[in-house]
Amino acid sequence: MMRQFALLLAIFLCQMTAWAHKASDSYLVVDVKGNAVAAQWDIAVRDIDFALGLDRDGNAEITWGELRSRQSDVSAWALSRLALTRGGICPLQVTGLQVDEHTDGSYAVLHLSGVCPGAKGALGLQYRLLFDLDQLHRGLLRLSLDGDMYNTVLSPTSGTEQFGSKQASRWDQFSRYVVEGVWHIWIGFDHILFLLSLLLPSVLVLHLRRWQGVKSFGSAAREVLWVVTSFTAAHSITLSLAALGLVSLPSWLVETVIALSVVLVAANNLRPVVEQRRWLVAFGFGLIHGFGFASVLSELGLPADALVLSLFGFNVGVEMGQMAIVAGFLPLAYLLRNTRVYLNGVFILGSWLTMLVALVWLLERAFDLKLVSA
């Protein structure tokens, strides 16, 4: 009863949680070149003792002798919980035992080597050390596979991890970021509204202070091409600079200026100030929109080993998303350009609505308000 009761009070100390050392980790560094495997596996001495019992004389101290005399048990136990496959199972053996220190104490260092049946293709790795005894245990894997680096945290839910051959993995990484890029232009309403506001007048021309449709599809397409290309060029520059950590702006500022850019461009449709060189506007504000994309990318994270490739992939994705919008917009707008629906409904009313929405964003972002609940 006392124990139970005393424990109950400790409950309100649940901040105690994170107090103290870290939980159990092992450090597994694997180098695979062709069919040859070399590895170093650091396992905490305390963990080995918990699993196998090392303290033969029961004095609460583990000596080098106590560990060394159990080398074959330790090896058999560890190897039964790690499986590597490349064209079949790669038999491993322990070639040496040493010790090392990490932040939470002493570790046994197992040196491993082995030969795989295959010298090419994917490498499979299954890790089960200690999971039967300690659910918080993690294996921190650093793998070099034919020169490509992979870092992974192995947990009870990891199962068998596959590490692809070079081409496949690079391509996967690239295409993943392309998809993310497409997705983020599609859900980034402020970017879409900015672009559309700039494009709305591209099928029109101002004649005697009145808007009317352009003569040829070619001139509309040229205008669109200029605007989209300069927007792209500008945001690619700042996106890359920000993603690589070379330049950074506070996010409230970026978001506020993006909202401002939409307001100004929509207002320009209603009261034209800039009519000719809209590509310059696209370029100027494109620079700030790039910072906006970068904040998305920083949430997503870039893999250290394929930084430039992933960044390029994300840019390509943003581009493809934009192109899809343009491809949908341009033919339709061109067809409707001389109708009242387009001139009054889409162009004038649309610009008004866009400006209002963007004004709300602007106020919210500049003054940290919540005017319209999302």
């Binding site: 009761f5 005393a6 424990l7 109950l8 009070l9 400790a10 409950i11 309100f12 100390l13 649940c14 901040q15 105690m16 949680t17 994170a18 107090w19 103290a20 050392h21 870290k22 939980a23 159990s24 980790d25 450090y27 560094v29 170093q40 305390r46 003792d49 918990f50 303290d55 029961g58 004095n59 609460a60 101290e61 583990i62 000596t63 080098w64 002798g65 560990l67 060394r68 040493q98 010790v99 932040t103 939470d104 260092v109 039967d132 005894l133 300690d134 659910q135 918080l136 993690r138 921190l140 650093r142 870092n151 945290v153 070379l246 330049v247 702006l249 500022l253 994270g301 893999p303 250290a304």
Partner: protein
């Protein structure tokens, strides 16, 4: 992202010890120790009857108690492994255990599900109510927390009820009532661990009230009980640091380097006094945070924010960590590190959640109120592209 984090800083320098007699590791206790024998008996029971939920719950509880007492998360992992054998059909005791383990990993929502399931099986489980109350307090859901306190009263757990109510009152701007509730619970408390806990909390409440002499008396009474308690030591060390008495922190925590939060306070005191060990301890903390990050552990962010703010002088990173921590934990100490970081980083927007919390709860600590007021007087940020070196 994880790729960058995992640039393994394994300072690998494996060595072969000189001789067989070289001691390479010390274990927490001897095999013949009474605790070790008690633990071994519990393990044997589980081995003999692997399907016995009662035996499993007893072993898991023993591991969890050890984790609390020694501040060693390995035991939490062991408890977790014992409990996870019963994930299909857990008993009420195992459900409480699983909830406790989940809150330990800051998986509060999942933990609440377990406690709700426990109470569905057995509505008289005071421990499930108490844990729920504790989680609601951390999440700043005070109405929900009050309901759990009321349930504890209904179950006639008066000391627990006093502790629960006292904390809710303290966090919601009624420090005097909080003091009275905790004081009353103290008169009912029969065991030293209860007294220690209540005295610690009374010390905190007095410190918030600005009554330093009384605060010190409560802390000293708690220390005089002679039990090792990481939370008490941390609270007392914080009190000393706040009152510019770092030399006493040095003496208090000299033997507590193994505990991350206590090492943090020790390193702060050493840095203030410019002692020779300061640098090594700051580096040790850096290494430990890096090691935790490597395994994807994010439960240390409040401490890490304080570390970045006070010892690394990196307020920008401190603000990020404090904000990330605030999304999960919203107790006074979490808000204070957020305010201090935001102030140092001159980021008035980042301090907004803390100002809102102070406003809505009416929390009375004058130190925090002053910090919050200062964050409102920060200069309006100017446009300033930061170019990395």
């Amino acid at each position: 992202m994880s790729g960058a984090l995992l640039a393994l800083p394994v300072q690998s320098a494996p060595r072969t010890p000189a001789g067989d007699a070289t001691v390479i590791e010390k274990l927490p206790f001897r095999a013949g120790d009474s605790r070790a024998r008690a633990l071994e008996a519990l393990r044997a029971r589980v081995r003999k009857a692997p399907g016995d939920a009662t035996a499993a719950a007893a072993l898991a509880q023993a591991y969890f108690d050890l984790a609390q007492a020694r501040g060693d998360p390995r035991y939490v992992g062991y408890a977790d492994a014992v409990v996870s054998e019963f994930n299909q059909q857990p008993s009420a005791s195992l459900l409480v255990m699983r909830g406790m383990l989940r809150q330990y990993r800051h998986e509060f929502d999942a933990a609440l599900v377990d406690f709700a399931a426990t109470l569905a099986q057995d509505s008289e489980r005071a421990d499930a109510h108490a844990w729920r109350g504790a989680i609601y307090l951390v999440e700043a859901q005070y109405d929900d927390a009050r309901k759990e306190c009321a349930a504890l009263l209904r179950l006639q757990r008066h000391v627990l009820h006093g502790g629960c109510t006292g904390l809710v009152q303290a966090y919601t701007g009624q420090l005097s009532s909080a003091y009275a509730s905790l004081q009353h619970a103290l008169t009912l408390a029969r065991y030293d661990d209860q007294r220690l806990w209540l005295l610690t909390r009374l010390g905190e409440v007095c410190a918030w009230l600005g009554q330093n002499v009384r605060a010190e008396r409560h802390y000293r009474d708690a220390l005089a009980l002679g039990q090792d308690d990481g939370y008490l030591l941390a609270a007392w060390a914080d009190f000393l640091l706040d009152n510019k008495r770092p030399a006493e922190v040095l003496r208090l925590l000299a033997a507590w380097e193994a505990s991350d939060p206590l090492l943090l306070r020790l390193a702060e005191a050493e840095t203030l006094l410019q002692t020779s060990s300061a640098k090594a301890h700051v580096q040790a903390l850096e290494d430990r945070f890096a090691a935790a990050k490597l395994r994807g552990d994010t439960t240390h962010r409040a401490e890490e924010a304080r570390f970045q703010l006070r010892l690394r002088k990196n307020p920008t990173l401190a603000v990020q960590l404090a904000l990330a921590n605030y999304k999960v934990q919203k107790e006074p100490r979490d808000l204070r590190v957020l305010l201090e970081s935001a102030l140092a980083a001159q980021d008035t927007a980042a301090a907004k959640p803390a100002r809102d919390w102070l406003q809505s709860t009416g929390f009375e600590d004058s130190r925090m109120r002053e910090l919050a007021a200062r964050t409102l007087q920060l200069p309006i940020p100017v446009i300033q592209p930061v170019v990395a070196p």
